[in-house]
Symmetry: C2
Subunit: 807 residues, 2 copies
């Protein structure tokens, strides 16, 4: 790539985005004054700190802070906070370009283009019926995507060291995909022009999902893929053993049944005589999909023949599947731990670099004084109030000597990740705007009632009654229920305020459902198309029944399970990503291979009816008999649905037999391969992940850092009375709700009315995983020396940090 | 129960069994001289130990050993060794009765009667066709079983303290079962006589498997059942949530599809209109058995309807099944740990009691001198040689001061459980009987070749060739292969000796297969019924292919998996027991409910053919269409096979629909209940167990005690040269093979030719589990005070020792 051109591009970008935005997310808030304040403050600190080290070497370490170095330190802290792992040059221009690169808008545009690129499959041939766009249309869109990818790469290159950039496999893969895609498009155009569109193949479409795991933004997804890749070798050992057993039993079965002359259940003769058919049947039996059909002929002949199948099933289904899960769980857990520790080391190294910039020499060791800390944190998070920064300082400063050591400083990012709410902001809307009315006697009674658990129980009961009436198909009371639920919502909003109301996911859910029901009901009244609206309304009314889900969430006995479910949430996004990548690849291949072979034309009574899914070969097959015509690869949505059905496993052999009948036995390879990839590997890894999250949920009910913060708040202040807490008095919130006298100025303690509360637990997967394994590493250990954080390939080195020895 | 009668019974037993047999298993070896030797030795020790404590309290502790107290101490050690947990009175008569009670022959008779009792179901109505015995016949056998159970109870009572015996729930349950069975038999006889045998029901048969878990001999099985019982409460929480979601989706589905007027795939109308049918269908969908059939009508109508099913399947099949496994794994692991720690505590308390008897006061603390130890161990294990006892002593005596402390003594049982072979006994047969010939040059060359790995590889290759020929149906070379394999076996026997040969499970397997093939081949030659013998021979020849399994066992990469498989072995016996109990209960209930409703009469071409399994109601059902007539409860074997098919899950809804059509919808309760019990609970627990064993296999490749012993042997002696080891030089054996100069008399070290080797790892589940969790307990901790080992109900107290706080 041409360096001069790159630099020019960068200059243009820089010109477009002046003044440089310094902190992601909060860029809009940093006023020029703020920046100058930082500069002044930095200078003032350099002067005010009298205790300079006498040893010149140490003095050298206590470097004066200027704007650039402060900016650099803040960048390291921000990177550590967001778990970013970029290498960048440390001059001011590169830093600004780097901050620009991390602008959320640019990332979102990347997501947009990646998704657009993937969605093109819906419009390309074979498209969803009626959605087809001529190929030049989809290609233009694809070229737009490629342009944006190129722009991101160039931007990334602009702040990176040239040597390291070219060593990073991610960049090379993206460049490769762009090149191959463009080549493929050119070839397609030529073939389509000269040989006709029906012979042209867009092979590069298979590569599209690879972009998902090769852009640095998709860190979690890439981690998951890497974990899976590393778990594979041992799985393959088990698979080999499994296939050896299948091969053996296929032989045993043939010898066992060969003199009986039995027929299959569907009437085919030659039961268990064909070796390779036996292998296939036994593999299907491992998935249980043809049980007990495959056994019945033998069983009908002689009950003792069942021993053959019982031994096989016990060995393969229970023991081997158990070992599969065990191998996957063990390996996945090990690699996960490895991965998490690596990112902890990464975080610590970033923070150590920031530390080296801001540290000062005092009493024979390096420390960080309050003022430098305050300036750094204001640069990192301009939105955070001074009192919050002071609170974080107090938590970090464990020995209360008003200096923070390196060990203490390394924890700053974990505290920044704990959500801290100032209760002042949490006052109900009405309390702030009509305090007299809000604090009147009547209003207080109403609020007390609404906050009482009896209020919730009453409405839970009403929801149950409503559900029962819906179940009995009694619609008469619908308007009554709709009104009463609306009143509930309004009362709740009044009592706890809009902000708190919409922060609570359950309330938000209630609100959405009831609003939707209102919209539907009103629509029904004014619209004429009775049937359509009744349909919509009924469905929305039923959605209200989903509020029943709220009830178990309130019961103590379900807490751990619900907590696991909500912790699984973010993980599902990651796994969903992995599964999507695999589905997409298989869907594209499936469409290229099997699109248009047959289609759904209804069954008998339909006017468009064509027998055998429009393909003579399916005559008499189980596939047609079971009405599976719609399970085809005629467009990307249908392909995904077929793959979903294959993932559920049941009847997958019938579906694959359909394709085998129409094409040839090689189709089985596609289906077996899909089964092994998704069902054996991915699903087991998912189960392993659920297992791990669940085990962690038991050992860690609250993160270490959250509890440290909470403890400090308690030490400094007073425990909250329920009055202080405007929210629903549900148990977990009460526990977290603590107030403090603003202890900023310890000399003159006075109640400034500032109160803190820990936010609802907003732990991401990354944070909870780090908590999981961080306890096992020494607090200052930076990881082995050879894992150099300046090496962008750190993630591509597969075995540098293995924990074989540790685990 | 009448005490006088009991005592009289006991006297009779005592009279019958004089002289009293003192140590289980080895009773036949203890000659009168041995007993008198013990007595003399005990006396001599009492005299020879000059260093009596001066403090009278301490002197009291150093009690002289007489025959009874030595016998009592040995009993405690034996109990600790076999993990027994009986309470018994400590007088000599009770002790002798107790030893008699633990005679293996009496336990075997108990197993025999329990199995006989269970097998009666094959002969009772509905019996296996042709196996029926008149009811008085089976009842006589059952009465015999009851008599033996009563005898065991009385015997147990005779050495127990009366108060504690009646507190033990196990005894009460057995008494209850005996009483109920006899009552049930009497009622049955009356009903059968006066109302006819067809209305009489033997309800007490359901109780039979409960005996399996209520006799003290079945400790492991009872432990497993208890673990499962304790895991249930949390599983039930998850089940409740699951059913709430199903109930919700059943409602949503009805509202969603009610205006579409769709038909089911089999043509029934009213798709998703009946709420309770929806619940059933969705439950079946959770088991995946009706996927994708249940979705197809909705999918054909509108692809977006699939979202309903996709969300449901993702939620219930993947997330909930994951949580099920997680809950079970977590709980099972916790309870297992709890259980194992409890039995460790039990073991230690037994040993502590033995210690209190044999300890002596020396230098201000209690110790055990060599002579007392030696006498005690000879009493415990008369078969063990003095040199082995000396070796154990040296391992125990860590600080080599020739006295064993209490802490050291507590480990004695673990060392007794490590198999220790004296290599002298392991010399090949021919070496001992024809040493000249065996050690001749030619013979040495042959032996070297046989032991070389190339020899094994050659025969592995021949096995593969043989397997391929069998696969290609080429029978001509069978005699050649048979001969060559026989030569292999003979050579191996010659080289390593008969004893070593038959100790190796792989060799034993080879031997069995080849011998069977020979028998079959000879039978074929002399017999005339060509077809039958060909059939048998072919099958046996194919069984030889099973030798292929040996190949992966020799490859390094499969070691952990193979080790797990072999460790799972004993666990499967326990789980098999649990599953058998549940199967038996369900089979008996199923037979009472559904026996004789329909039967298998062949399909179309058969001469005995009756349409619809002989039951008109099955006309047009999937059950009949799928040829499931043989899946009935007409005898206990068929019932077990149906339950097996239900365990595999696939098509279980079709099987249960068959019974619903013939009887009524209540049949679903039986099948759902079976599914929840076996598939959701037991199978998941089994998978959890496999998981745990696998995780343990990684962390513990050898038990702590084995390696301690090995280290000591190495310290004392010399590492074995390969010459010393007559066995196959396979890697694990080489590692374990060490020889020692007999170091009994350290003053005059001379090579007495005695060499030790650790036996092949014969770890039982109990031992490996104890190793697993024992590391977490302090070496001398006896467990919480309230878990009194004199309390026979210790196992019945569910929450005394919970590790909620520890785990």
């Amino acid at each position: 790539m041409d360096l001069i051109k790159t630099v020019r591009t960068v200059k243009i970008i820089a010109a477009l985005t002046k003044p440089p935005k310094v902190a992601e997310d909060h860029a809009d808030i940093i006023k020029p004054q703020t920046v100058s304040f930082h500069k002044d403050a930095a200078n003032s600190i350099n002067i005010d700190f009298a205790n300079q080290p006498t040893n010149p070497e140490h003095r050298e370490h206590t470097a004066p802070i200027n704007e650039t170095s402060l900016y650099l330190a803040a960048t390291y802290v921000i990177d550590a906070k967001y778990n970013r792992n970029f290498q960048f040059k440390t001059d001011l221009r590169s830093l600004r370009l780097y901050h620009l690169y991390n602008q959320r808008i640019l990332s979102w545009m990347l997501y947009f283009f990646v998704i657009l690129n993937l969605l093109l499959a819906m419009f390309e041939k074979p498209a969803i019926p009626g959605w087809e766009i001529p190929y030049w249309g989809t290609m233009l869109l694809e070229v737009a995507c490629m342009c944006y990818y190129t722009f991101r790469l160039v931007h990334n290159y602009s702040f990176s060291s040239e040597r390291l950039w070219w060593k990073d496999a991610k960049h090379l893969v993206v460049i490769g995909i762009i090149a191959l895609t463009i080549l493929d498009m050119i070839i397609y155009i030529f073939v389509a022009q000269f040989a006709g569109a029906h012979v042209a193949v867009r092979g590069s479409r298979v590569l599209r999902p690879l972009l998902l795991i090769n852009f640095p933004e998709m860190r979690l997804l890439r981690q998951a893929v890497r974990n899976i890749r590393r778990t594979l070798p041992e799985i393959i050992n088990v698979l080999i053993l499994l296939f050896m057993i299948i091969a053996l039993f296929a032989l045993l079965g043939r010898e066992l049944f060969k003199y009986d002359g039995l027929n299959y259940i569907n009437g085919d003769d030659g039961y268990f005589l064909d070796y390779f058919k036996n292998v296939w049947d036994l593999y299907v039996l491992v998935t249980t999909a043809n049980s007990p059909d495959i056994m019945m002929p033998a069983y009908d002949e002689n009950p003792w023949y069942m021993l053959f199948f019982i031994i096989f099933v016990m060995l393969c289904n229970y023991i081997f599947i158990g070992i599969f899960l065990a191998v996957i769980y063990k390996n996945y857990r090990m690699h996960l731990k490895n991965e998490v520790q690596r990112s902890v080391f990464m975080k610590r190294r970033k923070l150590a670099k920031a530390w080296d910039i801001v540290k000062v020499w005092k009493d024979n060791c390096f420390v960080l004084p309050w003022k430098r800390f305050c300036i750094l944190l204001q640069q990192v998070e301009p939105k955070r109030s001074l009192s919050q920064i002071r609170l974080i300082w107090r938590v970090l400063d464990e020995d209360s000597d008003d200096f923070v050591s390196k060990r203490e400083f390394l924890k700053v990012v974990d505290l920044l990740n704990v959500e801290l709410l100032e209760i002042k902001d949490q006052q109900p809307f009405f309390q702030r705007w009509m305090p007299t009315c809000f604090n009147s006697k009547l209003s207080t009674i109403v609020r007390t009632i609404v906050k009482h658990r009896g209020f919730r129980w009453t409405f839970d009961t009403i929801i149950i009654i409503n559900a029962i009436l819906i179940g009995l198909d009694i619609d008469e009371a619908e308007w009554f229920f709709l009104s009463i639920f609306t009143v509930e919502i309004l009362l709740r909003m009044y009592a706890i305020g809009f902000k708190a109301y919409f922060r609570n996911p359950w309330d938000l859910f209630d609100f959405t459902v009831i609003t939707a029901a209102w919209v539907a009901s009103i629509f029904e009244v004014i619209a004429e198309k009775k049937e359509f609206t009744e349909y919509t309304l009924d469905f929305l009314l039923v959605l209200r029944v989903l509020r029943l889900v709220r009830i178990p969430a309130n019961l103590e006995r379900f807490q751990v399970i619900i907590a696991t479910l909500s912790n699984i949430g973010p993980a599902i996004v990651t796994f969903g990503g992995v599964i999507f990548v695999i589905y997409y690849v298989f869907a594209i291949i499936g469409m290229e291979l099997y699109a248009g072979l047959f289609d759904y034309y209804g069954y008998e009574d339909d006017p468009v009816f064509l027998p055998f899914c429009g393909n003579k070969k399916l005559e008499g097959s189980d596939f047609y008999r079971d009405h599976y015509c719609n399970n085809n690869f005629n467009d990307v949505v249908k392909a995904f649905i077929v793959l979903f059905e294959l993932t559920v496993v049941n009847q997958w052999h019938v579906i694959s037999e359909g394709f085998v009948i129409i094409t040839n036995a090689a189709a089985r390879v596609y289906f077996i391969f899909f089964h092994m990839t998704v069902v054996i590997v991915i699903i087991n890894i998912f189960i392993a992940f659920v297992l791990e999250i669940f085990m962690v949920e038991f050992s860690l009910s609250q993160s270490v850092h959250e509890s440290a913060l909470k403890k400090k708040i308690q030490e400094l202040g007073l425990l909250a009375t329920e009055e202080d807490d405007p929210g629903y008095i549900s148990k977990p919130v009460v526990e977290d709700a603590v107030t403090i006298v603003d202890a900023m100025e310890e000399a003159e303690p006075k109640d400034t009315g500032l109160r803190f509360r820990l936010g609802e637990r907003t732990r991401t997967v990354t944070v909870s995983l780090q908590n999981m394994f961080e306890g096992e590493i020494d607090a200052e250990y930076m990881g082995p020396e050879d894992a150099d954080e300046n090496n962008p390939n750190i993630e591509a080195q597969p075995d540098t940090l293995t924990l074989h020895s540790v685990a």
